[in-house]
């Protein structure tokens, strides 16, 4: 049995756990704890080590989805989680511009750990306060070539679309590398 992994990262409360939960065939192995910080008490609990979801592809292959802890003090986990990943998804809460800078920092950190393909998922696009995708691209300083995808982490079809966009990016990157080598 072979296994591959993708990492779902992003700032605190961006929707990483919900994202994995929407497509995982097992109840995600979540490592959540009650929030202790007053500042971060916008939800009851948060991921302190990693979330762990699974999709069985066929009898020989399993895809694991790892969600990183969103709180800054657990960022020492990121390098460990990023090793060997096929690619990663940066979840950004479209309704909380105060987290955009942190999302950019996380993106750059993961790029430094592993220069693998990635997509940015603009989560909570179904909310009234959500920023428009074009505005988010400018705010996050994303290159036009980077895929910035609409997302609603609680919606399975939306999550599938984000995962597929990442897989297409990985394929494109492979083709590009082959053409350069040839």
């Amino acid at each position: 049995m072979q296994s591959v992994k993708m990492v779902v990262t992003g700032p605190f409360n961006a929707g990483k756990t919900e994202f994995i939960n929407s497509v995982s065939e097992i109840d995600i192995v979540a490592t959540e704890r009650k929030i202790s910080s007053e500042i971060e008490k916008i939800k009851e609990s948060t991921t302190v080590a990693m979330d762990f979801g699974r999709i069985t592809v066929d009898e020989d292959l399993v895809l694991y989805l790892f969600g990183t802890p969103g709180q800054k003090r657990f960022d020492f986990m990121w390098e460990i989680l990023s090793e060997g990943m096929l690619g990663f998804i940066v979840m950004v809460d479209s309704t909380r511009p105060e987290t955009f800078r942190e999302a950019r920092r996380i993106l750059e950190t993961f790029r430094a750990y592993a220069p693998t393909p990635y997509v940015v998922a603009a989560n909570k696009q179904d909310c009234e306060d959500a920023w428009e995708i074009q505005d988010m691209r400018i705010a996050l300083r994303l290159d036009p070539a980077v895929r910035l995808v609409n997302c609603v982490a609680t919606d399975k079809e939306s999550v599938k679309s984000v995962l597929l966009q990442l897989l297409f990016s990985i394929l494109e990157e492979m083709d590009l590398q082959e053409s350069v080598n040839n």
Binding site: Q2, S3, V4, K5, V23, I55, T56, V57, D58, L61, L63, F76, M77, I80, E83, G84, M85, L86, T95, R96, P97, E98, T99, F100, R101, E128, D129, A130, W131, E132, Q134, D135, I138, A139, K156, K160, L163, L164, L167, F168, I170, L171, M174, Q177, E178
Partner: protein
């Protein structure tokens, strides 16, 4: 959809950049601890700006720009009454008081200065309201935002440098114990004296900033000057806890594969995800 947030997380320079790139038309409303401001844009260019309750009538703008002297200003105010700025501008041009260029360049300079003064706002709320035009009767201009963005970036850079030099405002200050340092012989301005009067290991820089009504940027800039002059040094506040140790590393495992294998895997995964 909403374009709103806090200036702590999203600077005015970043907002100007966004408006410029997206060629937006509308009004950026800012509400900070020091007051409120409105900046109007038309297709990504600055059209109008107003900070707080400042008098930005055309007569005042022209007087500040030395296009009208005090006597002319008084005469125009007495004769013009409540005539809107646009009409007043035309009257001044027709009366050969001023040229169109004089008026436009003065108004442009005024709006530019208003926005420049806002660039150091590091706290407060913002919202962008699509399509809102300048107030009726006010003269709208078309000023490219690039220079403002560059100026804003320079100020942010200065702020970041100060932040690097003084990372935490939760530290305190104390006077250096060098013999021969006599504050009375040093030329300090009023703001520096206000800060100096609070220097004490019991007061954090943040508390000094609050007491002197200075924002983080201003208090850092003054403390940096005092540090460079060797008058003060940064110390841990009396009774503050020691910082915690960093956590240790966890074991690591790696997943690898050749290009062909990975490509095959990817196509299988794509098929599976589609079928979910």
């Amino acid at each position: 959809m909403a374009l709103k947030g806090n200036l702590r997380d999203f600077t005015i320079t970043q907002l100007l950049n966004l408006v410029n790139l997206a060629r937006k038309t509308g009004t950026l409303v800012l509400e900070g601890p020091n007051g409120a401001a409105r900046i109007v844009f038309r297709e990504g260019k600055l059209a109008y700006a107003q900070a707080g309750q400042e008098d930005n009538s055309l007569v005042s703008v022209l007087y500040r720009a030395n296009k009208l002297n005090a006597r002319q200003q008084r005469i125009v105010r007495e004769n013009a009454g409540n005539v809107p700025d646009k009409e007043l501008g035309l009257l001044l041009i027709n009366a050969n008081y001023l040229s169109q260029q004089d008026i436009l360049s003065s108004v442009q300079h005024h709006y530019y200065e208003v926005v420049t003064s806002l660039l150091t706002w590091a706290d407060g709320f913002f919202r962008f309201e699509n399509g809102l035009a300048p107030p009726a009767g006010k003269i709208a201009v078309r000023v490219n935002l690039e220079n403002l963005i560059i100026e804003g970036t320079r100020r942010i850079h200065e702020r970041q440098q100060l932040q690097d030099e003084i990372p935490s405002l939760d530290m305190a200050l104390k006077f250096t114990e060098r013999p021969g340092t006599n504050l009375r012989k040093v030329n300090l301005n009023v703001e520096e004296w206000r800060v100096v009067s609070f220097v004490n290991p019991k007061n954090t820089m943040r508390q000094i900033g609050r007491a002197t009504k200075m924002n983080d940027f201003e208090i850092r800039r003054i403390v940096y000057g005092l540090l460079q002059a060797g008058l003060v040094e940064i110390v841990r506040p009396d009774g503050a806890p020691q910082p915690a140790a960093k956590p240790g590393r966890l074991p690591v495992s790696t997943i690898t594969g050749s290009k062909e294998e990975r490509k095959s895997l990817l196509n299988r995964i794509i098929g599976r995800i589609r079928s979910l």
